[in-house]
Symmetry: C2
Subunit: 211 residues, 2 copies
């Protein structure tokens, strides 16, 4: 199972003050600037045109052979608590870019959502391992990817569920925000770097998680 995420050099995946209206936090869009002009990203978002370069190849690769996705609640809707009578359908829009079953970690049950473009959201209340099980079942022979956020990725690492981690390292210091890696107890996790791709805007570092 793989995860990939954009981070600042000081290790933030979003700026401070993230909210449903401001999901990447203040200044957080800086972390995704490298992606917005790429053909693959634009295609996933129903937009035409875009650049084809080494960054674009990496973005295309991210969804290649992905049959299902696991995502944390914060990344789905950036809200908290029971879903209420007219639950928010998440900030990914009516036609989310995933195009496959997405399993959302939440403490509060709700009915699945079927969106346009092949994305479905199923809400899993009994933990990460369960969500991963569901995702693997849905993916069949294809891969499962952890879309994020930081907390879900860190949980996956600590649970020994992650095989590969890719960091899109953006050359900026944000100073504050949501950290990819919060402090944790537990053993060191050894990694093996399997690839580095440099582009003008970002450095892609890919690691295999050693066992």
């Amino acid at each position: 199972m793989t995860a990939s995420i954009s981070t600042s050099l000081d290790g933030y995946v979003a700026g401070p003050n993230d909210s449903p209206e401001n999901p990447l936090g203040d200044g957080g869009e800086r972390l995704h600037e490298w992606i917005y002009d790429l053909e693959s990203w634009r295609a996933q978002h129903g937009l035409e045109g875009g650049e084809t370069n080494e960054d674009d190849e990496i973005v295309a690769e991210l969804s290649e052979n992905v049959g299902a996705v696991v995502m944390g609640r914060r990344m789905f809707s950036n809200d908290e608590g029971p879903w209420g009578d007219d639950p928010f359908e998440g900030h990914w829009g009516a036609d989310p870019p995933f195009g496959v079953p997405v399993f959302v970690l939440t403490h509060h049950a709700r009915e699945p959502l079927e969106m346009d473009g092949g994305t479905t959201f199923t809400f899993v209340t009994d933990g990460l391992e369960s969500a991963v099980e569901h995702a693997k079942e849905a993916a069949g022979d294809a891969d499962v990817s952890i879309a994020g956020g930081a907390n879900t990725i860190q949980q996956s690492l600590e649970a020994g569920l992650l095989d590969e981690l890719q960091i899109h390292l953006v050359p900026v210091l944000l100073g504050d925000g949501i950290r990819l890696f919060e402090r944790s107890d537990g053993e060191h996790v050894e990694l093996e770097r399997t690839r580095v791709v440099e582009s003008p805007d970002v450095t892609h570092l890919r690691y295999r998680v050693s066992r």
Copy 2:
């Protein structure tokens, strides 16, 4: 002015529980494993032999043309408070590897130290800018390097004193320790990646600080 430091992928420059007897903290030596067998490092520490490879070239480069060094107190001696009657000469030993004047940031005055091998320690109590001034004066036409630690490097960045930052990124997640980048207010700092060198043990990422 340049700084370089080894960090874990989760951004720690030392493990937890650092102290004068345990300056890199629990597990912190993992971050320097890449360096101990290198010829240049060994030569700086009065040891013979060692490997010559791309890591070694980078280590040699770090002290090339460096005329003076600035260092934080924690990196000098990892203790606190007034120096006392028989002040600790720091944990760098009698023949420290610097071989040039080193200016140590401290709140508490003490007399300079002249060590073997060309290293002198001068204790600067009136702040980072002052230490940098002294270092530039001592260095003459040569460069000044910020040896560390994390806090001093972060202060240098925030004060706009750093031109170049190099991170030796070690493929491990430590989980806890001293962060290179603590949370801070202030503007984002834009960086420009100027070099990436990959070796089996570490990834060297060099950045210019944009102005």
